[in-house]
Symmetry: D2
Amino acid sequence: MSDEKRRIALISTGGTIEKTYDPLSGVLANQVSVLDVMLTKIQTQGVELVRVPLMNKDSLDMSEPDHTLIANTALSMGETHDGVVVVHGTDRLALTGERICQVAGNDPPVPIVLTGAMQPYALRTTDSIQNLTEALLAVQLVPRGVYVAMHNRVLAFPGVVKDTEAGIFTGGTRFRS
Amino acid sequence: MSDEKRRIALISTGGTIEKTYDPLSGVLANQVSVLDVMLTKIQTQGVELVRVPLMNKDSLDMSEPDHTLIANTALSMGETHDGVVVVHGTDRLALTGERICQVAGNDPPVPIVLTGAMQPYALRTTDSIQNLTEALLAVQLVPRGVYVAMHNRVLAFPGVVKDTEAGIFTGGTRFRS
Amino acid sequence: MSDEKRRIALISTGGTIEKTYDPLSGVLANQVSVLDVMLTKIQTQGVELVRVPLMNKDSLDMSEPDHTLIANTALSMGETHDGVVVVHGTDRLALTGERICQVAGNDPPVPIVLTGAMQPYALRTTDSIQNLTEALLAVQLVPRGVYVAMHNRVLAFPGVVKDTEAGIFTGGTRFRS
Amino acid sequence: MSDEKRRIALISTGGTIEKTYDPLSGVLANQVSVLDVMLTKIQTQGVELVRVPLMNKDSLDMSEPDHTLIANTALSMGETHDGVVVVHGTDRLALTGERICQVAGNDPPVPIVLTGAMQPYALRTTDSIQNLTEALLAVQLVPRGVYVAMHNRVLAFPGVVKDTEAGIFTGGTRFRS
């Protein structure tokens, strides 16, 4: 039926997208999750979201066990949902993407879409709402697999890498229906 | 290659999404196209856009020849592009969608994705950026066909209708990869 | 003491500044007061506000008794507060300003500052926050009298008129300390 | 005449208000002046602005000669303008305010109003537009002297200090007409 909602697990792990500003110290940091605030800016008629606030870390501070924990959580949620979206710092997003592929033997049970942002939601020029919008749509449109959705492009793992100079993702396989 | 851009024709026809406010008369109306302003708010790394400013009408003012003109233009652009996005007033969007299906014999050459908004870009609570983001992503992810992408959901024509009380689209076929 | 807050009565009467958008009918109208939402966007350390939601009308719909009611309410609140701010539709704002002067015999007990907006708060290009900010500051800085504060300028009644072509106020006496 | 514009010198020195975000390094810093962008968000019918981009520093990095340079520039511009607004980092804003008082022998030729922000313009929750609006209005309404205008309050030097815990200014003399 066209009005049925896909059940999507939305895992948050932190990253630039969730950084907030502390006026007294004057710095941007991962303090509180703002993902739920972001969700109030988007109309999500196609999905029913199950929020999984896993951690709130700058991905530069993630350890090997962190990547494995995220991979295991995504795959575990995939067993009982129609898709999984993971919000993640961009610096090590590709590392988590590869880990999910490895653990799943390149055959995850559902579409798993990672996303993040180059500019925090707190900034007026943020790309966070665009990227979250794209991840929440792509997870309904692509076949099972592991992907990054950002800046109007969906790339399939393995092989995706961050171009740190351009601030974009590249490599992997461009999805084509 | 993952960095190749899809060539997408972006046809604007007006509608609520493009309404602007005239402070002297105090009303919202289709006067100038704001689609190019909207595009500056989105990072479009996956597509190369070819802009086709066809008309700028409240869709309630569209005539039968208008619907046919939009359908013919969309199909014609589809011959030479990887996909087509049509920005349209929501009141008669479904009528144009059906017209494209009819003219194309239900077999358009590329994905053709219609979108619009319930609230003009001019409003701080607008859904226009979300919907434009979704249309520009969906056109890369769905197989050839005619669709509406709005509010986190992609529906395939024929059979889509506007639920005017809820302000959403329903019916048609929910896309599933 | 520098930290003492001035007690200011904030009377709302409607006008463009408070118009909201109804997505289903597609028009801007005075339905609910958004002044309290606007106040969350401003830091008001200098004043303690006493809200008086008097009416919510497009000023073009105001009757003579409406103008008199607003004037009487402003002067009455002036007896027990350090100042009064009146949010008003711009089309007949000057008429209310003159009425207050008449009723007060050109000698109101405190500063009474009127303001409004050419573009509703609901619009992303609104001037409402600027004008409300100015009225809430001017009421602390000017001597007793009746004023309009808008668009970076404070004009004293009597003699203020709206230049409907330019969408600004002119005439009256420019305040100079 | 009520439509005459006051000639105001607008001196920018940097501070939090002008910090911009670098997506690649992930930090907020004083790189380019955004004051001219901010001015496009405000209608300034009461003033004719003469822009003086003096420096672009976090005020924590200001030296004694910096404070003296700002003070001398403000007083010098005051000789030929109707008022002076100085945009400044809040951490050492009070030090510059006192310096202006000293150099001017507590008798500056025109109103000199300092302002800044606790949150950069780049942030969606910024107080920069409010504070700039207030400074550009206060400079037209207060008598000659040195002031800080921020967060709906105008305080006169000498004696103003920053309450670093609360993120506000206090002390000095509260202006009352």
